[in-house]
């Protein structure tokens, strides 16, 4: 007894230390990082003057793994530029990587990379505002004749409070991808309306169970199904955001999808999950149709699901009955230049090269539809000749590029995780989409308010 008691006693101090040290592990970071003051000393240079400087010197670029070949190719083509490439998660899926890093750089007053590529299309919105204040306006860095080659919806998404602060790398317009071989085999017509598409979903569930006409389990599924049908969930005016999940555009789509979710032709599974690939992927793909963004052609069907060549094709975005065609968007990753950069001329040159010049063939080919129109023209012409596709997908992609619904604005808070953890988890548990719209709206409203927006219905 004595020994145990004394050991326990001797440990008392250690316990105190451990409890204390453990509890404050988080704030330790805060303490270490904030000692140098809370405001970021801006090293903002006048953009136009710097942009006309010489290209060279050192440059730090943060890219995701998909954009790594661009950065490497730039370094190779520009030996006078000492390029420092950092790869990161791309800030995708609601990660806070960039918020965290920029906060820390702002607090320490240095360390900002000259250029960031983000997979989150809405990142420039918060990057251009306080307290982050990272993005440099691009209008002073690039000639207007160059910037005008981006489609208007793309430029609008890069414009924050009237100033353009980024250029998008690619467009991510949603089209209807379909498996031509399977459609022919089953004797189905490629649908042009959501109603026809849903009817096929009902039919395939009884005639060929196990085949799917889409998927609704991704964190961005609402950008496909609800954005495309003009559901007002993100309409920003000043600091007010309108979130109205009871609008008929939302409820009618939910009612259309619910039977398909129930009969298994529209599973609540992420298309990038191992479960989805296992059930529906492979050379004998069970994906009959898939409303999805332009980059699905390469990233999903070719790289992830390994669909055999000569099966996949793209058709025009689905329309609601005889309403005009509108579509959604998933992605459109932007390049953002730092207002703290000491080498703006080279930074501008890099972004210009990455978006208007870089367009290789082969393994390093761009996976997505280039946002810069002249580059897109070359890219789609190659797509037409690509043997992977059963038919040329470029007419549908080209047409959809200008049909992205403009009533869905980008916001500073990530809405995609909200969809994933309120709606997708509910769908997996067997609830109907219609019953989840209201909770989704409420959760979005809370996220918006926490981010400083006023919410109206």
């Amino acid at each position: 007894m004595t020994r145990i008691a004394s050991v326990a006693r001797a440990r008392r101090q250690l316990r105190h230390f451990l409890v204390t040290a453990g509890t404050v592990a988080l704030v330790a970071t805060a303490a270490a990082c904030s000692s140098s003051g809370s405001s970021a000393p801006g090293t903002n240079q006048t953009g136009s003057a710097a942009a006309t400087g010489t290209v060279g010197g050192s440059l730090t670029v943060w890219v995701d793994s998909v954009r790594l070949p661009v950065a490497q190719a730039y370094a190779k083509a520009h030996p006078n530029v000492k390029l420092h490439i950092v790869t990161f998660d791309g800030d995708a899926n609601g990660a806070t990587t960039l918020q965290t890093k920029i906060q820390l750089w702002n607090r320490t007053g240095n360390g900002w990379p000259d250029i960031i590529f983000s997979e989150q299309v809405q990142d420039p919105v918060w990057m251009a505002q306080k307290p982050f204040d990272y993005a440099e306006p691009v209008t002073s860095l690039f000639p207007a004749s160059m910037l005008s080659q981006w489609p208007a919806p793309s430029t609008a998404q890069c414009t924050v409070n009237g100033t353009q602060v980024c250029v998008q790398d690619n467009l991510a317009q949603v089209v209807l991808w379909y498996n031509k071989k399977l459609m022919d085999q089953f004797g189905y017509q490629v649908p042009t309306t959501w109603q026809q598409w849903a009817a096929i979903g009902q039919k395939v569930a009884t005639e060929h169970p196990g085949y799917v006409v889409g998927s609704i389990g991704d964190s961005f599924s609402h950008w496909i199904y609800l954005w495309g049908n003009q559901c007002p969930l993100q309409q920003v005016q000043g600091t007010t955001v309108t979130i109205n999940p009871t609008d008929s555009h939302c409820t009618e789509m939910a009612s259309l999808l619910d039977p398909l979710i129930k009969n298994g032709s529209l599973p609540p599974l992420s298309v990038f999950s191992p479960d989805f690939a296992k059930k529906y992927g492979g050379p004998n793909s069970k994906v009959l149709m898939m409303p999805g963004p332009s980059w699905y052609g390469h990233d999903l069907f070719l790289s992830t699901l390994k669909t055999a060549p000569g099966q996949i094709a793209a058709s025009m975005p689905l329309q609601w009955n005889s309403d005009p065609v509108t579509t959604g968007q998933v992605g459109g990753g932007p390049w953002i230049i730092s207002r703290h950069s000491k080498n703006l001329a080279t930074a501008a040159d890099f972004v210009k090269w990455a978006t208007t010049v870089f367009n290789p063939t082969g393994a390093n080919a761009r996976p997505g539809y280039p946002a810069y129109a002249p580059l897109a023209a070359v890219w789609v012409s190659r797509l037409a000749a690509n043997p992977f596709f059963a038919a040329d997908p470029s007419p549908a992609l080209k047409a959809a590029a200008s049909e992205i619904w403009k009533g869905w604005n980008l916001v500073t808070y990530p809405d995609q995780p909200v969809w994933a953890n309120t709606v997708v988890t509910g769908l997996v548990a067997g609830k109907s989409l219609s019953s989840l719209l209201q909770p989704f709206g409420t959760a979005l409203g809370q996220a918006a308010q926490a981010a400083g927006y006023q919410v109206s219905q």
């Binding site: 145990i4 001797a10 330790a28 809370s38 599974l269 994933a420």
Partner: protein, 313 residues
């Protein structure tokens, strides 16, 4: 995740005991221990005490530095994510702490009754999962939880009716899932510590009990268990503190599931979000202080209830 840090204690304790000899009044003994903790003190002050004071300062001030009283605490308490986060933590800590105490003590008592070679092998086996560093072991668990790739997929199918990863991490299952991950990554270390505690029981005590007719079960429950009670209390205090500070597991599962788990599932994550998404370090500090208070209150309760520091000799 910090349960691995406890190993130096027994050595220090032995040394202290050796020097102390007969044992004088308490007040004189403390400074003698000082040389032993001196190497640790600068780190404790730099990374433990100073940040804590800084957090306290932040928690009661605004971003401009002005005194705001309990405003930050009220503000964070009213946040729509505060209550769910603390409820999750309560469930998680309850499940984890319960299973930790029952299973660790149970397994150790079982091991201690075995022949030496068998128990050494099992002790090593139990310790292995904990040898993986925290975040890495969570990544391994992500594979374990995905029926498409998990070696235990038959268990998931038949025992839990789980066919898909998204079902394995359904919201209702999360406290249990995180508790399971934390248990297997942390239990091994505690089993070793408890085994060490059992070894301090004089063999003649056990022998006397056996002569009096006590079987292995009686010896384990009536003799060994009461003798290691304070060790269990010690484990409970440390584990409670680490349990309420859960961060790595939900954060990684959130990223791996592409947002199916809210990024503010645990209170520590909420503090992180406040600090880095909203640049609101004062709110983050308020939550950190909440956690500190909870940890201290729980420690005081356990200490007074179990007589951890009471000298019975």
């Amino acid at each position: 995740m910090s349960s691995t840090a406890v190993t130096p204690a027994p050595a220090a304790a032995t040394r202290q005991r050796g020097r102390r000899g007969g044992g004088g009044p308490r007040k004189i003994r403390l400074p003698r221990g000082l040389p032993f903790i001196v190497p640790y003190l600068p780190f404790l002050i730099a990374f433990g005490v100073a940040p804590m004071l800084y957090a306290l300062d932040l928690a009661f001030t605004s971003s401009g530095g002005g005194w705001v009283g309990f405003h930050n605490f009220i503000r964070t308490f009213d946040d729509y994510r505060f209550r769910p986060a603390f409820e999750h933590i309560l469930w998680y800590t309850g499940i984890w702490l319960g299973s930790l105490i029952v299973l660790v003590v149970g397994l150790t008592l079982l091991l201690h009754g075995r022949a030496n070679r068998v128990s050494t092998a099992f002790r090593f086996l139990f310790y292995l999962p904990g040898a993986l560093a925290g975040a890495a072991s969570v990544l391994v668990w992500l594979f374990m939880l995905d029926p498409a790739v998990s070696p235990a997929s038959f268990l998931m199918h038949h025992l839990f009716g789980v066919q898909l990863f998204v079902q394995a991490i359904a919201p209702g299952k999360l406290p249990g899932v995180f508790a399971m991950i934390a248990f297997w990554t942390g239990a091994g270390g505690w089993i070793v510590v408890m085994y060490g505690a059992l070894n301090t029981i004089p063999p003649d005590l056990e022998e006397a009990a056996r002569i009096d007719g006590a079987g292995p079960v009686t010896i384990a429950l009536r003799l060994k268990l009461p003798l290691i009670r304070k060790w269990i209390a010690y484990m409970a205090i440390l584990s409670f503190a680490t349990g309420t500070q859960l961060f790595v597991e939900p954060q990684l599962v959130d990223q791996a599931s592409l947002g199916m788990v809210p990024d503010t599932w645990s209170s520590n994550q909420l503090a992180y979000q406040f600090a880095f998404r909203y640049a609101d370090f004062n709110a983050a500090a308020a939550i950190a202080v909440d956690l500190l208070v909870i940890g201290v209150v729980a420690a005081v309760l356990i200490v007074t209830r179990t007589g951890l520091f009471r000298r019975e000799d």
